[in-house]
């Protein structure tokens, strides 16, 4: 590939779509569960995306990794079915259920055919409402999680991100790895898993997006069947965290030919009046769309990396401006210097008229292309709900991008980019690079 697409930059972009064929219906089930629906009947299946807010940040003290383990167990036996019986039933329907969890949410991504929708929903309901958490399944999945933890302990990217998180978020759940440690996961019991399930899978934190071959009325009934029996209320959501950033470089020695760098500092809240200007500024600076400044200077002009980017990340409890790249050990110091120069330059000089016009045409043109398929649309419209947007956002978003002026960007860039607070964590054996903190 000519370009390395940074995973984070993809998952934390803007959500939504423009004037295309997407029409969102707001649905409330007879039982009171709310959802957004994009009805599209040309292909006989539906994609449903459900989010439970809280995620791995709900792990109780001393039980790090329990929410992640619980997530891995949802599909490992439910109701009358053990793990293998459940999988056979699912496969016989050709349904797919995917469970994922991160700091702020647990997600359920389901898709099933119109021809056997009722059976597919009943089966998924068992997994969500009546998971068995059999002892043998707990031990089996625990072994898989522990294997992942051991692999991550030797992976420079994982070492870099976990070191950065620990420095910046400290004792807050964001400051530790969501999978847990060998010790914490080994000590988890079935009771811990059951408790994690009832803390997170509750009706007071559900967001639903659906797209495909289903009517609003059918969706309402489906949601009551699927989610109506979950407990009403779960554990309190965690407080936010004040990131601890002093700026500087931390080198973690690791014997590998290419050093990996994570960097960043505080960002800007999603609902801040200057958010759009900040978003536009960062897209010019380190975004994926056009050739960003970082990419031009670090990759294109000097060949110091395969891919570099920066992105605004809005966690529920922290707002960050983050980035990453990798360079051979003998080139990392130079690459960091270039990134620092760019940080300083955008603070001093802002961006040019050309850059602003180009990024606007890119961002507004790319927007309607985002929703390409039922699964993607379901994810987009659930993401919009979790950050508090309304369906109208779809029609106003591009106007808000277009309204950003050169002065807005200059003003916001001067405070958004903070060279003095920019923290790098480098894992590898970078020549001539010393830890400053």
């Amino acid at each position: 590939m000519i370009r390395f697409v940074l995973a984070l930059a993809v998952s934390f972009g803007f959500a939504g779509t423009l004037h295309a064929a997407v029409e969102i219906q707001e649905v409330t089930s007879p039982g009171g569960i709310e959802a957004w629906l994009v009805e599209e009947s040309s292909i006989p299946f539906v994609a449903i995306e459900i989010r439970f807010k809280g995620g791995t940040s709900l792990d109780p003290e001393g039980k790090r990794g329990v929410t992640n383990l619980m997530t891995g167990l949802i599909e490992e036996g439910a109701g009358d079915l053990d793990a293998r019986e459940f999988a056979r039933a699912r496969d016989a329907l050709a349904a797919s259920y995917r469970f994922d969890v991160w700091d702020d949410a647990l997600s359920v991504s389901a898709r099933f055919l119109t021809e056997n929708r009722d059976e597919a929903v009943s089966l998924l309901r068992e997994a969500l409402v009546n998971p068995r958490f059999d002892e043998d399944a707990v031990e089996r999945v625990k072994a898989q999680v522990l294997s992942g933890i051991r692999s991550d302990a030797n992976d420079p990217n994982s070492i870099a991100s976990s070191t950065f998180d620990a420095m910046v978020y400290g004792d807050h759940p964001y400051g530790s790895v969501r999978d847990g440690t060998i010790e914490s996961v080994s000590a988890l019991t079935r009771d811990d898993v059951v408790a994690a399930h009832s803390a997170l899978l509750t009706r007071d934190r559900i967001y639903v997006g659906a797209s495909g071959d289903i009517t609003a009325e059918e969706l309402g009934l489906l949601l009551d069947e699927l989610l109506g029996e979950l407990p009403a209320k779960g554990a309190a959501l965690p407080e936010g965290v004040e990131p601890n950033l002093n700026g500087g470089v931390t080198v973690i020695p690791f014997d590998t030919p290419q050093s990996v760098a994570f960097f960043g500092h505080e960002g800007i809240p999603r609902d801040h009046p200057d958010f759009f200007a900040a978003f536009v500024a960062n897209e010019i600076f380190g975004g994926n769309g056009r050739q960003s400044r970082l990419s031009y200077e670090v990759r294109e002009t000097r060949g110091l990396t395969y891919g570099v980017g920066s992105y605004l990340v809005n966690y529920d409890g922290a707002d960050m401006l983050l980035g990453q790249f990798a360079s051979a050990n003998d080139r990392m110091a130079e690459a960091i210097e270039v990134v620092r120069q760019q940080w300083a330059e955008i603070v001093e000089k802002g961006v040019t008229e050309d850059e602003l016009e180009e990024i606007k045409t890119f961002l507004t043109g790319a927007y309607p292309l985002r929703f390409d398929g039922n699964g993607t649309i379901a994810r987009i419209i659930v993401g919009m709900q979790t950050v508090g947007l309304t369906p109208e956002y779809i029609t106003t978003r591009n106007e808000q991008i277009m309204a950003v002026t050169l002065d807005d960007v200059a003003r916001v860039a001067a405070t958004l980019f903070q060279p003095e607070n920019l923290q790098f964590v480098v894992v590898g054996q970078p020549d001539g690079l010393e830890s400053t903190n």
Partner: protein, 447 residues
């Protein structure tokens, strides 16, 4: 779990069978350019792809990595475009672009609003025969490619292990050489290497244009005539005629030890036949063999026996793709449970394989897999980009549109006996490489 799943991509993609579902039209221009148009009018977007029938397996000896390096250089100047102008123009029009290099093909694509298709064709056509490389472009880009190799391979013991296994699997065929190139050769590639590879392989008579999305086939044809139709065929292009494998007489074994390995595992690969035009039955049987043995992480034969019954493994899989111009491979993976040595894991895998050869295919499992294949034809319609890639990859891997269209039926027709026959044929230890990936200090685990 996540790192494992990322390591061994789920094989269900292989089953994905869009053929019956898609609205597909094909053309061929006088200069030899093949055209596939796939209509999907749900969104006002288009995927525009040009695939060349050239991949890393077509490189001259000693020039490994040149196909991929040239792919990077294709974003530099042409006789009509400045260096970087193509991607900048795509972005300025709200689109995204990228490219990829494989063993058998190289592809370039843009995803953009459907009304910008003409602009995309104008630019893509320009680099089909008008690349104008200059010395200053190529050195920096070679550094980028080296950093790409560092990122994908040198920093990842699993990827280094895969390179060693493939090199041992193929005794003679260039599939044993990494796509990104051996580091020492990729480091030494020159402007002349890139130019001569371009002149030998690029041109309309070695390309497939795939356009998918909110388009009308006749309009695509007219635009293609205007921009691609005027490019003369490249007389240098010859049919691909690669060296073939001699008989494999000896099983090979290797152990790669790297202190960065967090989770050791065993992987065995056998050479295996690929899909051929009008002759896809064996590959279909092997595809289903892969599904039956290691498709589902819960209900497949290896998972049932090794993860659930014996609990010697935390993860198992079987990997096969018939989409390949020349001889493909069939692989088995076992990631041992804590306290199980690699030798024990391999022995358990072999014992399970022997048991499978005696017991045969569970007919209920096969029925579930076939249900999933039928459903995949429905789900596939939702992903127009994937349909475009399926046709592009097939047509540059020696297959025809008819083969792609027939594939779901060929899969459906596979019987339990076909699968066992394919298993008996492919599991010949002389045709295999067994690899152990281990961390330092784990030598005692290997006894």
């Amino acid at each position: 779990m996540r790192p494992l799943i990322a390591l061994f991509a789920p094989i269900l993609m292989v089953l994905s069978a869009p053929a019956h579902a898609a609205d597909v039209t094909t053309f061929e221009l006088d200069n030899g350019l093949e055209i596939v148009v796939i209509e999907d009018h749900r969104a006002p977007a288009v995927m525009h792809m040009v695939w060349y029938r050239v991949g890393s397996a077509d490189e001259p000896r000693g020039k490994s990595g040149i196909a991929h390096y040239l792919e990077h250089l294709m974003f530099k100047a042409t006789d009509e475009l400045e260096s970087g102008e193509l991607s900048d123009t795509v972005a300025r029009n709200g689109g995204s672009d990228n490219a990829f290099t494989s063993l058998d093909y190289t592809g370039y694509f843009q995803r953009i609003a459907a009304d910008r298709l003409e602009l995309m064709m104008r630019m893509e056509a320009s680099r089909m025969d008008g690349l104008q490389l200059v010395a200053e472009d190529i050195v920096t880009e070679r550094d980028v490619v080296i950093e790409e190799r560092n990122q994908r391979v040198e920093n990842d013991p699993g990827a280094l292990f895969a390179e060693q296994r493939r090199a041992a699997l193929y005794l003679n065929h260039p599939y044993g050489v990494p796509i990104i190139g051996w580091k020492h050769e990729a480091n030494a590639l020159t402007l002349e290497d890139a130019v001569s590879f371009y002149k030998a392989h690029y041109g309309p008579n070695n390309a497939v244009l795939v356009v998918a999305g909110d388009v009308e086939p006749d309009e695509v044809l007219e635009l293609a005539k205007t921009y691609y139709g005027v490019i003369p065929p490249n007389p240098a292009i010859k049919p691909r005629d690669r060296v073939s494998e001699p008989p494999h007489l000896a099983a090979r074994r290797l152990t790669y030890v790297d202190p960065r390995v967090g989770q050791p595992y065993v992987m065995r690969s056998y050479i295996a036949p690929e899909r051929n035009p009008g002759d896809q039955e064996t590959a279909a049987a092997l595809t289903l063999l892969g599904e039956v043995l290691g498709g589902s992480s819960t209900t497949s034969y290896l998972a049932e026996n090794l993860q659930f019954e014996q609990q010697t493994a935390i993860y198992t899989s079987a990997l096969y793709s018939g989409l390949s111009l020349d001889t493909s491979s069939f692989s088995l993976v076992i990631v041992p449970s804590q306290g199980v040595s690699l030798a024990e894991a391999e022995a358990a895998m072999d014992a399970t394989l022997s048991k499978f050869m005696e017991e045969g295919v569970d007919s209920e499992e096969l029925a579930r897999i076939k249900m999933q294949i039928r459903a995949s034809e429905i789900y596939a319609q939702d992903n127009i980009g994937q349909i475009a890639r399926t046709y592009g990859a097939a047509l540059t891997s020696g297959l025809t549109v008819e083969d792609v269209d027939a594939w779901p039926d060929v899969l459906e027709a596979v019987t339990e006996e076909d699968i066992m026959e394919a298993a008996a044929m492919v599991f010949d230890i002389k045709n295999s490489v067994t690899g152990w990936l281990a961390s330092e200090g784990a030598e005692e685990m290997m006894q």
